[in-house]
Amino acid sequence: MEKTQVKQPMLSKDKAVWMYRKMVEIRRFEDKVHELFSAGKLPGFIHLYAGEEAVAVGLCAHLRDDDYITSTHRGHGHCIAKECDINGMMAEIYGKATGLCKGKGGSMHIADLEKGMLGANGIVGGGYPLASGAALTAKIKKTDAVSVCFFGDGANNQGTFHEGINLASIWNLPVVFVAENNGYAEATPFAYASSCENIADRAKSYNIPGVIVDGKDVLAVYQAAQEAIDRARRGEGPTLIECKTYRNYGHFEGDAQTYKDEEERKTHLGEKDAIQMFRTYLTENDLLSDDELNAVDKEVQQMIEDSVRFAEESPYPAEEELETDVYVSY
């Protein structure tokens, strides 16, 4: 794909640091989870977001705590970009009582409602109606909050895609639907499973804008997100943004990834690496120096190590917790 031509967005230094930091947090968190899972320390199914950092960060850079996001089974990156607590996330993935969901949800169900993070989701395509529903709350309560629905290219073939987006369009809801097209739905190429060339093409059916961006370029995502979120906040309705991206790891941890093309993989892990690309932009435009960036790297590394220690030292939930929180009252 051709590199998207973007107008240079006016990034403040604070915003630039925040975005770089979040991208590195996601990458280091996922690399660490990969390492811990390989060592047999983590239970359950794990789906890693590494490689797709620019999407979550480019979007969430515009969001407030009272804005909503819905996420996917590959949700760690969305959580981090929406500023969920890293210690609480790691503890959740370990199944510990100190986890964001008290150990009851795990990797596929991390949620933090106070941060507007409405949950990772084990059901592909589960998020569209939920995102529209959260946006309905914002619209009726006139809060000017927006709702961002992250979904994968696999999910774009679920029936809920049609129903959720159609609803958002006819009710003019403040939602931004964000396709993370990483080229593969599990082990099946996007081109095989989808009747359209681009997910964004489907926006026509709902009479909403459909935008395609290079999802490895955080600035391109940031700019497209800005327009879509502003539009939603102004009450002008939903937008569909398709981010062309790539996942560095398999569908789940343990996936041999024989379906991937080796050259494509090398390109994405090398010259198309989202963090490297952003780093180059920041230094070449004198927004941040190498020393400043290295300092962020170091801090993040420490933060991730601390989160592992926090998780490992935390207790498992008490057995009585098994039957709590099914209902508010019963």
């Binding site: 359950g44 986890g99 949800g105 169900h109 599990e186 082990a187 099946t188 499973a193 024989t258 098994l322």
Partner: protein, 345 residues
């Protein structure tokens, strides 16, 4: 000795035999081969199903008969219903039974009702294979055991095997059956090995099996809970208590006679079912025995089930969620009125 193969290999063999025997048998599902339209893979699979159960079948039968689907459960399960009713004999894989939420209409309102609504003119020879069960740390949306939901629906048959031998014989029976059948595979049993004969054999639907004979109490156990019951029975035998274990194998149709005959002999009944308790198979069986076998009973019928909660993620909570041999022994001690049994747990 007959050769030993895994539960997963037994299922794979059943599908291979069925596909060789009948060209109308096709497979469809999400990544049941994987790597569709990837140049360097062709008829090689990338996955062979999320748990590898269908590995190699695309190489044997080609992509025309082993169809990877988009992630569109309502689409391909519904398509399988109509393909079945118009001349094919599909085996559709619903990756996890939890995903029925995305396609229940096609199963419940379409497939299950066609024959009745159309005055007996339709047949839906469709097999839906699906993964169920807790114990894999797969959390609330990938761990349920929803067989009661399907058993409730007239027009569907429901099968839950517990051993590699039963898995193969039942799956062949299901594929050759002319009704729509939901075939449940417990994800924690796939690696379990057992004796499985070569070649074709079938186990009729609606036939329970006595997995262990005993005279003191009857345990009816579903799916992998048959093995929980077996562990408890070993320990109880050391205390001189002889447990009879019945595996219903098919929940719809249900073999009432085998259960009632056993209870007439032992006079005590425990049902182990890892699904949630309300409106469950455990309570369905209990109600049936209370109705038809009341005179045989010397004690109240007991059920051992999950609590009325979703499946928790945390290992400690999930272990507490599931039935265990210890829980069985505790209930037996209450039933028999012998506290000393608890010492063995």
């Amino acid at each position: 000795m007959t050769r030993q193969i895994s539960f997963s290999a037994a299922l794979n063999e059943a599908m291979s035999i069925a596909m060789q025997k009948d060209e109308n048998v096709i497979l469809l599902g999400e990544d049941i081969a994987g790597g569709a339209a990837v140049d360097h893979l062709q008829d090689e699979d990338a996955w062979g199903g999320v748990m590898g159960v269908t590995q190699g079948l695309v190489t044997q039968f080609g992509r025309d008969r082993v169809l990877d689907t988009p992630i569109s459960e309502a689409g391909f399960i519904g398509a399988a219903v109509a393909a079945a009713s118009t001349g094919l004999r599909p085996i559709a894989e619903l990756m996890f039974n939890d995903f029925i939420g995305s396609c229940l209409d096609q199963v419940m309102n379409q497939g299950a009702k066609l024959r009745y609504m159309f005055g007996g003119k339709a047949e839906v020879p469709l097999t839906i294979r699906t993964i169920h069960g807790a114990g894999f740390r797969a959390a609330a949306q990938h761990s349920q055991s929803l067989y009661a939901l399907f058993t409730h629906i007239p027009g569907l048959k429901v099968v839950v095997p517990s051993t590699p031998y039963d898995a193969k014989g039942l799956l062949l029976s299901v594929i050759e059956d002319n009704d729509m059948v939901i075939f449940f595979e417990d994800k924690t049993l796939y690696n379990m090995k057992g004796e499985v004969p070569d070649g074709h054999y079938v186990i009729p639907l609606g036939q329970a099996e006595v997995k262990r004979e005993g005279k003191d109490l009857t345990i009816v156990a579903i799916g992998k809970q048959v093995h929980t019951a077996a562990k408890a029975a070993e320990q109880l035998a050391e205390k001189g208590i002889e447990t009879e274990i019945i595996d219903p194998r098919t929940l719809s149709p249900f073999d009432e006679d085998t259960v009632l005959e056993s209870v007439a002999k032992t006079n005590r009944l425990i049902i182990i079912d890892e699904a949630n308790p309300r409106c469950s198979i455990a309570r369905d069986i209990a109600a049936m025995v209370a109705d038809k076998g009341f005179d045989s009973l010397d004690a109240p019928i007991k059920t051992i089930t999950a609590p009325h909660t979703p499946v928790p993620f945390s290992p400690t909570l999930e272990d507490a969620y599931l039935p265990s041999p210890q829980k069985v022994i505790q209930i037996v001690s209450e039933l028999i009125g012998d506290d000393s049994l608890q010492a063995i747990s």
